[in-house]
């Protein structure tokens, strides 16, 4: 199993809309389906929205479950608030699945 690095800003023109999130979902899905792990680089990205996350990580969570999110997806080149938003979002997904 190898690790595929996805540079988010090279994939999408922004990180605020559902449509942009879909581009990221496709790239993550392809890597996971091949059995690889994913390293998401948020270099140069300073803001993000729940809409973007809904159609990217949210969709991946629905398809693969939280174990895959925990064991095969990491992020790098992130600002602390951005990482805070992503980890909160993913934890909210887990909470909402349990409740």
């Amino acid at each position: 199993m190898k690790t595929i690095t996805i540079i988010v800003k090279d994939l999408t023109s922004g990180t605020l809309t559902n449509v942009d999130g879909l581009n990221l979902r496709v790239a993550i899905d392809a890597a996971l389906a091949s059995g690889d792990s994913v390293l998401l680089s948020f270099s140069g990205i300073h803001t993000i929205s729940s809409s973007f996350l809904n159609s990217s990580l949210g969709e991946i969570f629905d398809k693969y479950g939280h174990d895959v999110l925990r064991s095969r997806i990491k992020i790098t080149h992130y600002t602390p608030p951005l990482a805070g938003a992503i980890t909160k979002y993913v934890n909210d997904l887990k909470i909402s699945q349990v409740s």
Binding site: E59, P80, P81, A85, Y89
Partner: protein, 312 residues
Amino acid sequence: MKSDRFSNYAKKPLAKTIKVADFNRINDHIEWIRANRVSELNTRRFPAKLIHIDFSFSRFLKPYHIAPLACLIYEYQQKGFKIKISRIPDTIQEYFKTFNFYQFCKDEDENNFPTPSNPKTFPLWRIDPKVINLYPKEVQDYFENNQFRGSDLFVLSNSLAELMNNIFDHSGSKIPGFTFTQFNSRNNQIITCVCDFGVGIPNHVNKFLKDNGQPTFSNEIALQKALEFKFSTLTKPHNRGFGWDTIFNSVKDLRGKILIISNDALYQLMNDGTSRINLLESNFPGTLVVIYLNTKNLPVKEEELTDELIIL
């Protein structure tokens, strides 16, 4: 008889005048907006497609006056009206120059990114889906590079992104919304507001409930319901009801305030974390959200971290 008829015709005013006031009471402001919308205009009495916006009663216009005024004016522009600004006090005139108000009133087709001319005020901005990625980043960069060097304004761009997406996804507005952001150095507050003339949150929630065979709520309960974690009207298939929760958590962390006026419901998050919800006497024709960020509590801007972080 004939001459009387012509003399009556001659007396008809050539344009309608809208007198802008800086209302302090929410109900008065809403009543003023409702009374002055294009849909209320008597075109037999005011046949000319010209609106005079008279500012002689204005003294201290705030962002939450400006954004709804922009929506109101834009509605007229979309119906082919020309806007003429008149009787502006000097202080207001200077204020308008700082945030693109005159450019906006010229009804330019393009949502040209206006050059800010005042470090405390970010220009008025029409919320256009084509440029959603631009505004939140620009406003964050602008304040981080001017008034708040060394501070992180992720909360501002993130909240604006959520509110703008809400307009696209849920408002059903016939015209775009408007957003306006300003720093008030006396109160150490960044005030940002987003306004649309859509269906309003309570109406939207109740329509969703009704369409799904569920009981509807009073407007204040419907607004509260919309703000709950995980509540979504599923207007877009990916929606999960996390957006408002994201805003509330970020603003609470900074001990900021939020005001949401939608239809006749008013929600307030106070800076001590408490909240209240009330019914208003008047019905706002859409949604107005005002966020107050306490700039003394802004986090320090940090560099990107290059380690590998597990997200769950």
